[in-house]
Amino acid sequence: MDFSTITSDLLSGFLENLKLFGLTLAFSLPLGLLLSFCSMSKIPPIRWLAKTFVWIIRGTPLMLQLFIVFFVPGIVFDAPLKTRFTAALIAFVINYSAYFSEIYRGGIESIPVGQHEAGMVLGMTRKQIFFKVVLMQVVKKIIPPMSNEIITLVKDTSLARVIAVAEIIMVADRFTARGMIWPLFYTGVFFLLFNGILTLLFGAIEKKLDYYKV
């Protein structure tokens, strides 16, 4: 077992992390927005439902949610999930939608009512006001908390190992079982490098949006 074999083994594990990361983002960013609309809905039952959902998801460990999504369909409906990865993805999407929805809600509610009213007196529709006036201001406001959450997501993907998704730490652990501990520590480099890239990216986006002040 030389360094390059181990590196390539770990890398294939890390690709699993990245796949989970990318797909979770792709689904939970829009779902979170939808959920934030529900939690701001004028119809009380929808609002309560959304708030209860967010409370449950944020109030319980992601690890527990992984177990539930993985085991419950098999126990209750006798229809076990096809793959471990799908189970992990579903749990992550649910979890991160809840967190993102709160970030969106905070951003949307922080836009002064005067912006909406300015759009209204100019004869814009509610949809136009949201997409043409409010949204870009929300985006600018939520980039810092979003970057935080997204970086946390990168690291959280390693939790998928509890339902035996072959992600990087699980791969490294196989070497530990054979008496090699350093590959486990080495995994940190992968996370650090990737999060370093993300940090630069978010910094660039923030800078790009610097031309206006909200």
Partner: protein
Amino acid sequence: MTVLEVKDLRKSFGSNAVLKGVSFTLDKGEVLSIIGSSGGGKTTLLRCLNSLEFAEEGTITVNGEVMFDGADKSKHKEKDIRLKRLHFGLVFQQFNLFPQYTAKENIMLAPKLMGNESKEQIEQQTDALLERVGLSDKADYYPCMLSGGQQQRVAIARALAMKPDILCFDEPTSALDPELTGEVLKVIKGLKDSDTTMIVVTHEMGFAQNVSDKVIFMAKGVIEEMGTPEEVFEHPKSEVTKAFLANATE
């Protein structure tokens, strides 16, 4: 020719009656100033005209068309409200420009979304508006790069772009440093010369006296005094008006 007729408008927030039967008319090209102390109902009146609030009783008629009728209890449809709003324009105390757009984009946004005119027409009209408020050289500036007075002038141009029948101003200079109020008032004065019908809620007594055709003094939800600037400022009949003016012009 009467452009606007407001009849017996009443509005309360909970148990707090803010408008207790307000009636007045406005002719085309007239400038009406509404003065009075804070909490007198001036801003609420403007917000009712612009359908940002809805009165409980009374009617609002523009060019003979009923905009609002308190007796009609059917639900206000969003689309109807939107079209009715276009008879009025509103310039806010806090400008409320859209920060992510340049001055020019701020003015062009609503006409573009309305889609009634070609892009070239809108662009031409926007350039003309910017010139009218003296900001042709600031077309590509973002609001955060403009002074308060410049922002308010862009806001005036933005409201004019929708060609309202009546342009309303809600304390347009109250958020400005004293040295910047002049440039905004000058623009409003310029609009008067081009026959724009306007309602200006203001604390600028000099402006109300010199520029308006008609002045309303509001206190505690009623029109306490109404008339020409001479009538209201020089020969007020009501004691409340006298007391207010004595304080305000001190």
